[in-house]
Amino acid sequence: MKSLIENRFGLLALVLVALGALYGVAYGTRPAAQADTPPRPVRAPMESVTAVCPAAGGSTLSVVTPPAGQTRDQGEGGGGAVVAPLQQPADAAQDATKPNTGKQAKAKKAAGEPVSLQRTGVLWQQAMTAGTGAVSVAASGPMAAGLEGSQTARLESGSQRGLASTRCVEPGADAWFVGPGPAAATMTLYVANADEAPADIQIMIYSGEGLVLNDRGSGLVLKPGENRTVNLRDLAPSPLVMAVQVSTSGGRVAAAVKAVLGKGKGVDWLPVAAPPAKQVVVPGIPGTAGLRELYVTAPGGQDTVVQVKAVLKDGSYALKNKETVEVPAGSTTTFDLSTGIGGQPAALLLTSDIPIVAGLKITGTGMSQDVAFTAGAPSIDLGTVVADNRVERGVSSRLVLSAPFSGATVKVQLLPKQGTPPDPVEVKVPAARTKEINLKAPPGGDGRFAVFVQPEPGSGPVYGGRAIVEDLRSGQMITTQPFAPATIWALVPPTADSPSVVLP
């Protein structure tokens, strides 16, 4: 020991040993690299949902909430859905004090009394009397999880001959529509404010020539409970094709656009298109014959070239000579795909280097034509509900399911108006394929039913739509509706109480 201390190298050796030991300790205690697993959001059922059916008069209103699944454990006893005409709080107060005075009161009476719904898994339908304006469907509690409404009008003659259906839409801050312009059809914008705060709305129109600027003022303010129609010809008379963006700078708006192409040319609602994105899937194109016209809008300030791929029954590929569409900055372009995808169930996969919005016009066959519209839609990761499906003599409802990226299995369940629903059916969609299913009405009903589609766990993104086709001697009537994600589940993100959020 003494020699160690007195040795010139003794201390050095000691220190080196100590350092070696420290190195060993540090090395040994170093934790293994763990994969950075971000915390996953948790699914939780929706607790309240509001939807607005833009113009229910003369249509059949369908409302359904899919049955509570096995995972529905926290459904509360209370709540329910209320279907009632949208009215301003002031009018409601007026109603109470001065009943049966004037025209307005008559209109109210015509609109009908609020209907309360309590049962999930059962389709509710009612034909609304003409003159009914916007109808709000509000639900809380168990009825909220997956509440879906739609309105379908069917006229066999007149300028509005055809099937016209639309979903009842949830109010939001932003809505996109792509379709023909006021020069080609009578385009009417329906806006409604179902909230307690006023909504300040701006309407932007992207025509074939670019963004339409007008001096009439494209903004309007909706009081709580107010609904209005705007003839888009007043804002932009000339476009043949257009995209409409309805956005709010305050409050929320439920917007819908109806296109009336004229006598013998058809009528339908434009579905809400997915907001601008670099990759857009336009799903739900049925396998009927007829014209297919793609609309693409590039709202940014940059020209772009959009790659078009069709996802068909036999695979996903670019169409010959129709590989790309050029879209000038801020404008809308059409592109005829009738020879490419006509007659086959399909979805379109559009990619671009800047965000785009896309939609598609489907024209039925026959002497008197009818049109239907579909548009870019998100995938239905958490399932989707289609409220109104009809299978009757000469009327068929089809689901068009596409899995453009990887294979998927979906569970399809029919929900009749009464009686026990049949067992769900599993449908496999291979990767990069589209599959069309002809729905069969559940036995015992009147052929009206709702459909609840749920991807099985492990499936890739599934896109789709539903088409109702009615073959009449005067010509095929058609309406389509791309799948919208059901409002069954909300993803509750993990949260962290962290003062660091004040830092960028």
């Binding site: 190298f9 190195y23 971000p38 915390p39 959001p41 003062p499």
Partner: protein, 953 residues
């Protein structure tokens, strides 16, 4: 012909009396009568008087009689005064028992009296009893504040420089050796019996002056005076008070009794202000007895207006008319300010505020002007600054820091990493520290972390600008650390080049650059303080009490920012206690003071911290996963690199390790090197433990333990550095080796500086951080309402509540109650999921009026908020979104106060002041007593009494 009666008053003065009596009897001008008065002496003075003068000439009075009483008594018994004759008068010569006149003193006095017939009072030049060349008095004047002024330098030698024509016109002379005309004495009623001791002479002479007589100091006459009473060479029996208090009280009384009314009013004001100031200075200098005397004297004068009125009544005659003659002899008013300045300067220099000019014993503590190579140089300030290696080093480090922090110097708010954007001022921080219920976030009743108070104090120094204080502390961390390392190691490492190297290497350690990059204010402060701890610790193990208080205070500061520091210091302190406590006296107590002070000062907060031990490993500010590396490599830790942002490559410190290893080979200084390496090994071990611990999902950052380790290593490496110079002198291979070591050593700081400048200092810390509180929300929120900030990051929604403004530093360290925060968490999750429901109502109940999503806005989150019916969008752009609740939010009532909180704050402030006083430099020598050598001849030592008010130094 004059007739002179000498009156010798004795009181316990046997030590001096013999010599005094001899001197009186040996006068060249013989005295007509010598009368002795014994004021109840117990040491045989009375007997001595009787032996010398004959018992018939000695008067025995009671012990409590004063000097004035004694003279009055004698004169009462003498035959009444004769009317003044031509060429002669009746004189009375007053003598103390400790005042020996020169043989020709009386002769000279009478000579002066003959030359100046209007002179009524004459006094000799007084010199020191022991060192007979030292001048004590050539007349005394007084300032309007009652401070006695002799006009002499302390310990001034008499070389005839003040002698003039043999006599001087003065305001007053001492009663020791005072020659006064009997008729004047009677006219003025002599010495005031209200003033048994001290300033009675001044009073008498003032009255004489006011009555139109002259007072002369005859420099041709000399007397040696021991000043036994004021120097407390003997106990005073005439009064129970301490002589110092008595002196001060009488001074005030004399001034106030003799000044005309208007001047009196001014004097009262200036004395109150002046006394308060002096009291504070005495307190700060740890002379509480002096402070008490000062304030008690003033109180006793002003508190007894009756006595003052009586005294003024007696002096009414001639007071106003004669004031002009007195006023020109008073100390000019400028002198008071100068003396005050001297006092403050003296205090700063460590001498203590002993205003020597006013003391009887004019002896300033001979401050030993040792150490400080900077001070010894007598060249100009500029030259000194530009040639001092320390200043040059700091300038270089400052330049390096400014170059590296170029992007952090100007612009908007400073924030990022651990630092919340710095908003608010010192007053906001003080309020945050002192309030007992914090309204921030969900509200919190916990103790505010004490570093808020420290930061508030520093901000106050920076004129209330917190941003400036934080910028200096954080961004200036490198030069500050360099400066403190350079100055703190002065005693440890006298070799300047080694000290320069040590300071530069220390300041540029990866810990420093990491602390700056991550905005770790706590580490930055501790990093700059660490060398000071080391320096003070060396003095503590030497047993210094004052260093221990200072250490305790600084450790409190460091612990408030980084609690882990206390653990490290406590472990080392324990080891030191084991090794040194037995060796040196007082080490144990000093260590206990050093380690106990932080516990006392930080008590409730520390107790709160101990209940959640994980937080001890974290430091002040925000804790973010990205700021530390839980998988820090073993080589990083051993190379003193704590991980996280702002790290240079690990090899940068290689040179330092290599040099320190080389130091192990030297045979000399092995003890210091071994201790240094011991600290290094200890620090690295703690760093490994700390670095592997995860607290609340955040890995702790081992910066402070590694700075600790580096300090040890640097001392080990730099201490034997003088050997290199020896190597160089030897030449040959050794010279080459020395050169190599120098190159390797200096490679570390140079490479660190270069890499730091090249890479820039900004990491997560940046300038121009946006104020997290949107202006619209700040305007729109009422009192008690809040804004919820949501930020989606990798799928996790982080949130915090702001109450009307951006959070202050320290507010992030206030935990809310678990109930409230889990309720808020659930509500935020519900809101961010967009599932509807009543979550928004929960938020409303918590006062949330606005919801904001700062940049970058997650589109999913903004869509969800847009779809929430209870929210109304105010704005949304790439810079962030803001939503308002449609309904007005609940305003919560403020919580009730808590008195214990306030009590503790007062207690804490008191303890802090006491510790500050104990830690601050005090008087090196309390009184002149110690230097006063005892009478060399006849008296044995041993009668010395220890001063009651001495302060242990």
């Amino acid at each position: 012909m004059h007739s002179v009666t000498a009156i010798v008053v004795a009181h316990d003065g046997a030590r001096w009396l013999q010599e005094t009596l001899t001197a009186v009897r040996r006068q060249s001008r013989p005295l007509d009568l010598i009368v002795g008065v014994d004021n109840g002496s117990r040491d045989g003075s009375g007997q001595m008087l009787a032996e010398a003068l004959g018992s018939g000439n000695v008067l025995n009075l009671s012990r409590s009689a004063g000097f004035g009483d004694a003279v009055h008594e004698v004169l009462r018994r003498l035959p009444p005064a004769q009317p003044r004759q031509a060429g002669g008068a009746e004189w009375v010569w007053l003598l103390h028992d400790d005042c020996a006149p020169d043989a020709h003193a009386l002769e000279a006095l009478l000579w002066a009296a003959d030359l100046n017939p209007d002179a009524a009072i004459l006094g000799p030049k007084l010199c020191d009893w022991l060192d007979r060349r030292v001048l004590l008095e050539i007349g005394v004047t007084v300032s309007r504040s009652g401070i006695r002024d002799t006009g002499l330098e302390p310990r001034e030698y008499d070389q005839g420089q003040h002698d003039g024509d043999g006599f001087l016109d003065v305001l007053s002379v001492s009663t020791a050796g005072m020659l006064i005309r009997r008729e004047v004495w009677d006219e003025l009623s002599g010495l005031d019996p209200e003033l048994p001791l001290f300033r009675d002479d001044l009073d008498l002479c003032w009255r004489a002056r006011a009555a139109g007589h002259r007072v002369l100091n005859v420099t041709a006459a000399v007397a040696w005076h021991a000043e036994a009473s004021t120097r407390r060479r003997r106990r005073i029996s005439a009064s129970n008070d301490h002589p110092r208090r008595l002196d001060r009280r009488n001074a005030l009384l004399v001034i106030m009794a003799n000044l005309p009314f208007l001047a009196l009013m001014r004097s009262i004001v200036r004395n109150i202000v002046g006394s308060a100031f002096r009291t504070v200075l005495f307190l700060v200098a740890k002379q509480p007895a002096n402070a008490l005397d000062e304030i008690a004297a003033l109180g006793s004068v002003l508190g007894k207006p009756g006595r003052l009125r009586r005294a003024r009544k007696r002096r009414r005659k001639d007071r106003k008319s004669g004031y002009a003659a007195v006023a020109r002899l008073l100390t000019p008013s400028g002198a008071t300010l100068r003396r005050l300045a001297d006092m403050v300067q003296g205090f700063i220099a460590g001498a203590g505020p002993v205003d020597s000019a006013g003391r009887h014993h004019a002896s300033a503590g001979a401050s030993d002007e040792e150490d400080g190579e900077e001070l010894l140089s007598d060249s100009g300030l500029v030259q000194r600054m530009f040639t001092s290696p320390g200043v040059l080093l700091c300038a270089a480090l400052l330049a390096v820091a400014l170059a590296a922090e170029r992007s952090l110097l100007f612009g908007g708010l400073l924030g990022g990493g651990s630092l919340v954007p710095v908003t608010g001022g010192a007053s906001d921080l003080w309020r945050l520290y002192t309030e007992n219920h914090h309204v921030t976030g969900l509200g919190s009743d916990t103790w505010t972390p004490p570093y808020v108070a420290i930061l508030a104090a520093v901000s106050t120094l920076f004129l209330g600008k917190t941003w400036l204080a934080v910028s200096v502390l954080l961004l200036g961390c490198v030069p500050l650390a360099g400066f403190s390392a350079y100055t703190a190691t002065k005693k440890m490492i006298p070799y300047v080049p080694a000290r320069i190297w040590l300071a530069a290497t220390y300041a540029l350690l990866p810990v420093a650059t990491g602390a700056v990059a991550a905005g770790r204010l706590g580490t930055a402060v501790v990093f700059a303080l660490l060398p000071v701890y080391a320096a003070l610790a060396t003095r503590i193990v030497a047993g210094s009490r004052r260093a221990a208080w200072g250490f305790g205070l600084l450790l409190t500061v460091g612990t408030a920012f980084v609690p882990l520091l206390y653990v490290l210091v406590a472990v080392l302190g324990g080891l030191a206690a084991v090794s040194f406590a037995g060796v040196r006296r007082g080490v144990g107590v000093a260590l206990a003071i050093g380690l106990g002070t932080p516990v006392l000062l930080l008590f409730p907060w520390l107790a709160q911290l101990v209940t959640d031990p994980g937080r001890i490993l974290l430091e002040s500010g925000l804790h973010d996963v990205a700021l530390s590396d839980p998988r820090l490599g073993a080589e990083s830790i051993l190379l003193l690199s704590p991980g996280g942002p702002g790290m240079p490559p690990v090899w940068v410190t290689g040179g330092l390790i290599a040099v320190a290893l080389t130091a192990l080979l030297l045979r000399r200084h092995q003890m210091v090197v071994a201790i240094g390496w011991g600290v290094m090994v200890f620090g690295v071990l703690v760093a490994i433990v700390v670095g592997r611990v995860t607290v609340d999902g955040v890995a702790a950052w081992p910066g402070v333990p590694l700075a600790f380790a580096a300090t040890g290593l640097l001392v080990a490496a730099a201490h034997p550095a003088r050997r290199i110079a020896e190597f160089a002198a030897k030449g040959g291979l050794r010279r080459l080796g020395g050169l190599l070591i120098v190159v390797v050593a200096f490679a570390t700081p140079l490479a660190a500086a270069g890499l730091w400048i090249k890479g820039g200092a900004d990491g997560p810390l940046q300038r121009g951080v946006r104020d997290p509180m949107p202006v619209l929300a700040a305007v729109g929120t009422g009192k008690g309402q809040a804004t919820l900030v949501l930020r989606s990051d990798h799928g996790v929604v982080g949130y915090t509540l702001l109450r009307g403004r951006a959070p202050l530093i320290g507010e992030s360290d206030l935990p809310a109650s678990p109930d409230a925060s889990s309720r808020l968490g659930a509500a935020v999750a519900g809101l961010a999921s967009g599932r509807g429901g009543s979550y928004a109502r929960v938020l409303l109940a918590d006062g949330v009026q606005f919801v904001t999503v700062p940049r970058p806005v997650d589109p999913g989150l903004s869509r969800t908020l847009d779809s929430e019916p209870t929210l109304e969008r105010v704005s949304l752009s790439a810079n962030g979104g803001l939503w308002r609740m449609v309904q007005p939010a609940a305003v919560r009532p403020p919580a009730a106060g808590d008195s214990t909180h306030r009590l503790w704050l007062w207690a804490q402030a008191t303890i802090l002041v006491v510790v500050l006083i104990l830690a601050s430099p005090g008087a090196r020598s309390a009184e002149g007593e110690d230097e006063y050598v005892e009478v060399p001849v006849e008296e044995p030592r041993g009668r010395r009494r220890a001063g009651g008010d001495r302060v242990p130094v």
